[in-house]
Assembly symmetry: D2
Homo-oligomer: 327 residues x 4
């Protein structure tokens, strides 16, 4: 039987995502609701190793639900990948009487925490916070909805100028190993083609599509490219198309880090709020070494190993829709 949990610490780690603050707020307030002490660790595993933590109360997290980024800051730590680093972290936590950990982050974060749990058996739980939505075991990760809307808002602006000049734009969105943002921002942005890491698109296929729609009187076009596509990045693809297809004046925009920031959408705030409460309730019910997820609208707890061993399926149905609509 697990000994009673009295003091919990929460931290954010890896790439920041909009909604992380909403998750921190939920973890803090749920802890207080259940009469536990709650601490915040700064800069993820780095702060853990450097003993950089502070006690939080309900007001510490007032007025942050709407803010992008993370008030606890984030970092990637090389030291925590070593046994010594983890030992150091454990000693600091023990000295402060921390009984359990809540991590908000992506798969790198989970890997570290899983190892830590195996070594020290301190109860740990993870909340998926990453704009990429690339984790098995949850339908949505925190930040994905906001990032996709940010991408779509940028695509809408670029469409204005594409339309005015009868141009072809290649727009690169985030998602190194995952085409999720590309697929959904592509459909929502009315893209003529969407290029994702999970599926190969040849330059021939792309030019054929562009030509088919041009013959169908389309005067301007957008192609959305996920940053990690096999056919190259947006600049490379655009260059190849340009050399062989001159119907359009061709331009490239790389959206970059602005996709990470901004006030989270209602969806990400509610998701983060639910997951934050679920993390604390899970911990108190004995869940450990698991990730909180949402599947078919319901909270679930999945083993880290499952989460990390499986790839998320690509949305074949969404790609089919995208093709029907690009005529």
């Amino acid at each position: 039987m697990t000994p009673e949990i009295k003091n919990i610490a929460v931290f954010t780690s890896g790439g920041d995502a909009p909604g992380m603050n909403a998750a921190v707020r939920a973890v803090v307030r749920a802890s207080i609701y259940y009469k536990k002490e709650i601490f915040g660790i700064y800069r993820g595993y780095e702060g853990m190793i450097e003993n950089d933590l502070v006690k939080l109360n309900a007001r510490s997290v007032s007025n942050i639900i709407q803010r992008g980024g993370t008030i606890l800051k984030s970092a990637r730590s090389k030291e925590f990948r070593t046994e010594e680093g983890r030992a150091q972290a454990y000693q600091h936590l023990k000295a402060r009487h921390i009984d359990a950990l809540v991590a908000i982050g992506g798969d790198g974060t989970f890997t570290g925490l899983h190892k830590f749990y195996e070594e020290y058996k301190m109860p740990v739980i993870c909340i998926p916070g990453t704009i990429d939505n690339d984790l098995a075991g949850t339908d949505y990760t925190i930040g994905y909805d906001t990032a996709t809307n940010t991408a779509v808002d940028a695509i809408d602006k670029i469409r204005d100028t594409a339309l005015s000049h009868n141009r072809l734009f290649f727009i690169e969105v985030m998602g190194r190993d995952s085409g999720q943002i590309a697929i959904n921002s592509g459909i929502a942005g009315g893209a003529v083609a969407i290029i994702i890491p999970e599926e190969e698109t040849t330059i021939d296929q792309l030019i054929e599509k562009l030509d088919e729609t041009a013959r169908n009187n389309k005067k301007s076009s957008l192609v959305v490219v996920a940053e990690g596509g096999k056919s190259g990045n947006a600049l490379e693809i655009a260059q190849q198309v340009k050399e062989r297809y001159s119907y359009y004046d061709t331009k490239v925009t790389i959206l970059g880090h602005l996709q990470r920031g901004g006030a989270p959408t209602y969806f990400d705030r509610v998701l983060a709020s639910r997951m934050g409460v679920a993390a604390i309730e899970g911990l108190l019910q004995g869940e450990t070494d698991v990730m909180v997820g949402i599947q078919n609208g319901k909270i679930v707890y999945n083993d880290f190993e499952l989460t990390m061993s499986k790839e998320k399926e690509i949305e074949a149905e969404a790609l089919r829709i995208a093709k029907i609509l690009a005529i």
Copy 2:
């Protein structure tokens, strides 16, 4: 066996919702993709009775996926509720060789179409477009995601002034019989209390909550009220609180019709795109007198009667979360 469908007409009806244009676009392009002729009827049933329809092509719906409102316009028709009105509509449709109808709207729209189907047996299918998200048979209706984000964006702005002045704001959001927008914009807006039509909240309970958080050092507060609440509208509730609880300076804002407009979110555009394609594919596979829905991420076709006979359940779990976080 249904005779082959060759000519389809699409219309929007009832209160407009962001994403209706994306649904029109998807219906039009999917029809063309499947080699059908597609017509647009203006102003819903009114235009049907007045024979106000026009042939559409793939370019007719270019550059509308991002626009609020509906290019086909909408209206509420008294005449279509009469047998004569529906007979007139049928004659016009027949004269134009229309074989099937796609309606985008809410429950009023469906009721009319169901009657029309029972009388004339013309294949019909509905797409749920309403910001209220109050239809059984689908997890989400088109427009709900956008409207909730619009409400949250307004709440964020009001929070700035509430915080600066240590004030209490009552914010009325849309949802005459449904607390969906209120619940989710309330959680996302960090509201101290959420008042919905489906559940009674007494002034005593409300004041107790306000006082509890004030004692917990909260300096300003937001209460989100759905327009159809049993305890009265936002003005009435605010007045009653004001008379009995003077800790805060109290203000009221009624968000009103701005919740209906604006560029749709990615979610509403993708949902509308999927449902628009599904409506055409359903029709062509023999579905009729049904509403397209999305349940657990998958497209479903539900009988109108089921859709209209059942009330959507309130999100008890969401309300529970809201209470834990408002401390």
Copy 3:
């Protein structure tokens, strides 16, 4: 000759306005740049009387330039209107060795500060922060640009639904004694008529205009009403129009306090930054009992009395443009 200024205090007062934080930041950093100590007073004159002030440094105002509201909070103080209140405030300031005051607010704020200056001869300077843009002596006040854009953004959303339903909307914007927000959001929103406090519009004139444009094939219309119009508020005007003119289905939206919040525009941030620096530079050059203003793009210092004695002229030229464009 003025004795050297060493310690300056800054506060915000009256209705909050977006950009106040940018002004606070500029005042703080300019003070430090010129080697002065800088203090923040909370809740305006109330905090002054209650001795609620704190020393600030360059990092105290990091990451606030983009935030609506005011980190120093604001309030309206009855006590400061009394001699005793001001005496109390002066004693606290003296005890903390404060040599000069910078106020950010509107005309109520200035009136109080002018009296304080006359009584105690402590150097004081004002920065105009109010969304109403109703102060003589400056072309723009901080917050006006943001509030007008917020109003226009809301009008755009309402237009979507007005267009879809062929409706007439009355939209009430802020500006109790000033039609500035109404005029400019009305022109930018494509309003058919704009009703402001400074000019009478009869219901006859309004109906005539509506009818003229309807005959000219206009299918939906927006009327923007400043909250303090002589012809009544938006609800009253709409009611009168409705009774006599039935061409349109008529609706009303009152934008309310959401116009006060939100991230400030670049214009308000730059204006606030310039004015904040100018306030400190003015004080150090011996300016006192003046308001910082901007006229024809240049910083000016105008006597309070001039600022408060003159009314800002209405923009006759803008109204003329509005009429030409509403056809």
Copy 4:
């Protein structure tokens, strides 16, 4: 004496800018207000040469005031730079009885029109539409306010992630020969340094500034770079800083074409509305071969030659403010 003007044509040319549609609308409606016929030419000089023009009425420009881009489309034309091209254009215009031209664009557009006027003496007038705000003879060009706000909105999002990770970001904004967007988005974005084409900044100076603020406890920083800076583009500058200064993790974002699109701000819509009316009123009062401008809030008409011969002064005062605030 000029013969009476009866038929006017309007077109947009060069890079598109938000607010061009508002200017088109104003030109069209003012023409009709003054009982003139008004035509729209598509794709600027290209459409003129290809005789691609259409008669417009008050309703042709309904519901476009809020849209980015230009409904008349834009293009750059090589042929119009030749005598033959201009002769062809003139013949088409004459055949359609066009008496006067209104151009909306930047300096390239003006150069062409000036030559055309010298050759054919047809009355012509220009409206400055370009996001760069780089034209002498007007304080503001249409599109600049919107583009700067778009840049600031992106910078705000990037700040969220910069803050979370203690990073240094280089953000490249538009303005090939003009630092206007960079200066004002830099001040509004709280940038530690702003690099513009008009002024040299050495890598040494930049590193010194970064180091000074870092010693002053600044944990993350933003540098805004105009695309045409003498010290290189954002990628090159970032690379040089990275090699010599390792305190921060350094990233680059190039905002690109999204700065051209989006719904125009109230300021750009009102400016465009005023300039559109002024263009028609100017033409009808005999102004020709001039650009409409706004100086100190008043409409002016300046000779093209003056406009094109003078460079706009850089905002030295703004740069001074930027330096004071970056501490």
